[in-house]
Symmetry: C2
Subunit: 290 residues, 2 copies
């Protein structure tokens, strides 16, 4: 086996010895060792974030792209229970993992807990010299009506503000793909989704009746790079309420930072991986608090 350049090491050792000997005559100074993030001095990008980055690749430039992360449970279709894998830490499931579905729901207690956590963030973020993110929020009462229109595979969604009946938007939401992330040490798992939200013309539903509608009571917390929506969904004709928490990434900002990454001149300033880390760590910490 080959050794490293011996001379350099010897010289440096001599330098260190001299420094130590010199010190003996003075007051003893404890050697301060800074613990590095790795022997290479850098923090490696974590494996899950690498997978998410690859998953987003090729879609980021697409117009009207929506990137969102949801809290919920990965359910086993056979056992009707949360899926079990023989692992004891976070992992992204394989794309061809069959027999599972993601249920974007939680208990009312969990929902209430998230409400408190997020309200605290809004309050804390307004104090001077805090380390948490700045959040603004809105309370939205919204009705989503779904229409089946010939020539469109996906149902079209008309969202109106319940308080003044004004149309918020009319879109077709097409799913591009999902990533299911199993969190065996958290009460909730994660799903990252890419969708295209295409704006549609309202004349399409002039003479069409809605198939069904959903009422949404939503607290929307907005911060730089992301928006957190805590929503209670009520489907009429049932008493059941679904409780959802999702984080939507600012996909335009992310794409902008991705382009910086590709350019040698701007590579160093790119916030691409920092934004993905903020997104993923926020989802992880919220899932742990569930």
């Amino acid at each position: 086996m080959k050794r490293a350049n011996e001379e350099t090491t010897e010289n440096d050792n001599k330098k260190r010895r001299t420094a130590e000997e010199h010190n003996k005559t003075n007051v003893p100074v404890p050697v301060h060792h800074k613990i590095l993030p790795s022997i290479f001095g850098i923090l490696p990008i974590d494996d899950s974030i690498n997978v998410i980055s690859k998953f987003l690749e090729g879609h980021l430039g697409t117009p009207n792209i929506e990137i969102e992360g949801k809290l919920g449970k990965i359910m086993d279709n056979n056992t009707k229970d949360r899926v079990y894998l023989p692992v004891q830490s976070e992992t992204v499931l394989a794309a061809d993992f069959r027999g599972i579905r993601f249920v974007s729901d939680m208990t009312m207690d969990q929902h209430r807990n998230y409400n408190q956590i997020l309200n605290k963030l809004v309050n804390d973020g307004n104090k001077p010299n805090v380390k948490t993110a700045f959040f603004s929020y809105r309370h939205i009462h919204q009705i989503d009506s779904f229409y089946q229109v010939p020539g469109h595979k996906e149902k079209l969604r008309l969202s109106t503000d319940k308080t003044n009946s004004q149309v918020i938007n009319f879109i077709k939401k097409v799913n591009i793909g999902h990533l299911n992330i199993y969190l065996p040490n958290s009460p909730l798992d994660l799903r990252i989704s890419i969708n295209i939200e295409e704006k549609m013309d309202q004349s399409l539903i002039k003479d069409v009746e809605a198939n069904y509608e959903r009422q949404k009571d939503r607290l929307s917390y907005k911060s730089h790079a992301l928006q957190i929506d805590l929503t209670q969904v009520h489907e009429p004709n049932t008493d059941k309420k679904i409780h959802e928490l999702e984080i939507e990434l600012d996909s335009q900002l992310l794409n902008h930072e991705k382009l910086k990454l590709k350019d040698k001149q701007t590579h160093e300033q790119s916030q691409y991986y920092n934004i993905l880390t903020l997104f993923m760590n926020s989802l992880r910490m919220l899932a742990r608090s569930g």
Copy 2:
């Protein structure tokens, strides 16, 4: 649902608006948004490192404890191939995962590559103002002889320096436990082990012959908090050579920092999680380079 304190948010929004309006009269200043590690402003401890920390708990104070991480492959006993799990990112396997074994070996090319990477670290670490860790190294030619002695379940190991026949140590190595870490995006997986290395009295083997011996050609790279051993193991009577890379953690230092963590006065200064992060990230980055 409950809203966060509205007044605070309104006040802050006013402040922000005022700042923006004021700015209109002067040169436009781009708003600088620092991307936080999470919405809570802190970096969560990663899930694998949490599992390792729990695994070490209760053993750290034990005398003569050895904590090491090895590169290799988790093999499926049935397929005789590397194990397959339907996941696409790092995960720690469950403790009761059956039908697998960890093979601490690599190709000669991988070994040569690690030799170059580690030699470069030694050279780089000696340059002024570098970000990588400082490493010293030694080249060791060692013979390990194994003895079966009545009253001891484990074989006793006598290590001697091949160059001068001096005894390096005589120990009984008892394994306490393993953690297998599956890395589907790396050519090699990881195993973290806890062992107790108990020093034995040489009189025990006065009239005993060694069962077998192993020759080790080892490059040992020492840094603060850890030591990396790159070893070629040769078992006599066979032509086969095994190539190993392992990182040993300074368990006394880790225990010292763990105790700091438990004391309110020293909690903030503790390097416990930083040392585990250095250990794990170094193993991850080396596994990726394999």
